[in-house]
Symmetry: C2
Amino acid sequence: MRTVDLIEKKRDGARLTAGELTFLIEGYTRDRIPDYQMAAFCMAVLWRGMAMPETADLVAAMVATGERLDLRRFGRVVDKHSTGGVGDKTTLAVAPLVAACGLAVAKMSGRGLGFSGGTLDKLESITGYRVDLSTAELVTQLERIGIVLTGQTADLAPADGKLYALRDTTGTVPSIPLIASSIMSKKIAAGANAVVLDVKVGSGAFMKDLPSARLLARTMVAIGKAHGLVVTCELTDMEQPLGRAVGNSLEVIEAIATLRGAGPPDLLALTRLAGAEMLVLGRKVRDRTAGLARIDRAIADGSGLAKLRELVAAQGGDPRMVDDPGRLPRAPHVATLRAARTGYVKAIAAGAVGLASVHLGAGREKKGDPIDHRTGIVLYAKVGDRVERGAPFADVHHAGRPADDAAIEAVHAAVAFSARPVPRRRLVLGRIAG
Amino acid sequence: MRTVDLIEKKRDGARLTAGELTFLIEGYTRDRIPDYQMAAFCMAVLWRGMAMPETADLVAAMVATGERLDLRRFGRVVDKHSTGGVGDKTTLAVAPLVAACGLAVAKMSGRGLGFSGGTLDKLESITGYRVDLSTAELVTQLERIGIVLTGQTADLAPADGKLYALRDTTGTVPSIPLIASSIMSKKIAAGANAVVLDVKVGSGAFMKDLPSARLLARTMVAIGKAHGLVVTCELTDMEQPLGRAVGNSLEVIEAIATLRGAGPPDLLALTRLAGAEMLVLGRKVRDRTAGLARIDRAIADGSGLAKLRELVAAQGGDPRMVDDPGRLPRAPHVATLRAARTGYVKAIAAGAVGLASVHLGAGREKKGDPIDHRTGIVLYAKVGDRVERGAPFADVHHAGRPADDAAIEAVHAAVAFSARPVPRRRLVLGRIAG
């Protein structure tokens, strides 16, 4: 088999066999196939796409490059994944809640890149919190407290890490089969039996429109099916940020508030939805209604919050920050934005808010950049809300650098007002399941 | 400027500016941009294409990476280029003919790859012939005898050599803007004022159909115009091999026969056409009719043949091989293929004949492979010819290796017969000029 023949086959729109994909992915991971051939292949995939069974074969080849975690002793393993958006801190609330309901949660998360934040960065707002657990540490902690939130270990689907770094520099990120296989290969390698997915749609998400989001969701559901996993997928709105807070420490504070029963309605709704779905797939409850009730109880009785405290303590973080979120790091300056006249919020450009948070230091433009956990944005109104003249609609938490003025201005420009009432946005746009 | 942004721009179908193309090509040639980014870019170009002015800007960027030969003291410099086909030895006949007519010819040729032969390989059938002249040697020889046939020097458009090697391994060869810019950047860097192009069309050529060939021709004419060159382009048939001989030594013998006035009609026709066109563009004759007459005279009076002899001697080759082609290397074995019944030649699959010659050792499957100059195929009939039962229709010249049987069989299979008369093929399919 020659690599160039396989590139040409895909370039000409043909379907690759499982054997051909294994040759490519295995060869690339073991450095037998050079970056330049894989880069051309990825661009050809972006151009021509992949059939569903072909994408499932690609995932199998990626999983086979590394270890596959065996967590069967913990019962059904239900993973959760969001394709990423602005202000999406759902994992921080939902993971402790379902763990408190008796479902083992071993979740490997990622870092933020571009306008989208990452769970690991958010967790590192908590002093001391470790995100680099070894596989052995992961298993021990899961046995002891039933929850782990850590980073991807290098021995799971190593092909994915190498491919992602290449795609990032070669303009080959936005390919649905490549995105789907990247996500699903990690979930399968991490030992999941089921996955609850949240595909974000809108200006603050990687999928800008509903048809692309649906295709991505269907692709991931099909991959799951081909690999014996149950996958359900919600399509949710990312035209405005989720919740109120954008920025690492600020988002942890909001997740803690949600666990205390005081979270913003949209974040609470998604947390309940994802949590109930996980409990159903994990066979802890009979149906979604029972799942929602169980999640509500874990909020009301404080067991979700207690589980977060346990998690933070187990991974070396300062648990007092969970008890008293005032201890979390805060930016030294807050600029409050106020409405120039009475009206209704017409739009909050999620992508622009995400980029403003990057410019405030809360995110990174390229891999490896340091971030400032303290900075970010809190929005006091959602689309459709009425705001009185002079009332604050956002706080920008910043470090006081000269460059921050532009970011503050960008947040201002991201919020559009209308004199006439504006309908609220629907949060859940659809559901796709296998 | 970031390379990834330019890849994404092309990926999304936009047009790059001259400055952006210079950034890419200059950066790649100087090793500031890695192979993997350029590979993704080339696949995006293959996918999205390039506008004509954009392609002309690409050529300018490629030319600017190296030296540009100044041959103005030799008057108008007219280059000649064929996109390559099976049995195309036109350069070997036409270059000495136009040089004998007083037009300075400094032609840099390439090697064969895949089914297509290369002028350098053919010339090296002549013992001692050097194809690695330095720029200084080239100029001295051009002053002395008015003709040079050598290889590409490394200091002309170095971007092209590097890009071509990358495209060859990444499935990005068949892109019209990339093919056109590769050809034209070398012609411009080599100091041409005018170029006579022959774009081959058919199964034995890189352009398989007339629309692609026309687009390639129009692209090269437009590039020429943008750079102040006059370019004319013939589109010629490559559904059957040109002339009778395929294989290096065999093709040199046929070119010499053509210079003696005894060449096959199709090769003679193309030689006269290209020669007349070069003389017109070189302002040695008033029009094409006068050019054809001038070429005919250079054949009849033996001055073309004498010029080939001079060329071979000047570049270290054995000139007795020109006087007596029987001295050229010959394969030890000849298998003669005969017609099973009386009929007409319906088709001669040029690509299959070219591949058979590669398998006989006359060509190379990958760059750097050694070749056997002696082997090849001589076809005694063209499409439309009547062949009597038992009459020979081809000789296969081979080294007597066991693997040669399959190649002989492939030549047999490449020639199709019909019981009923078959029309002859038209050789010249069109002409495009600026």
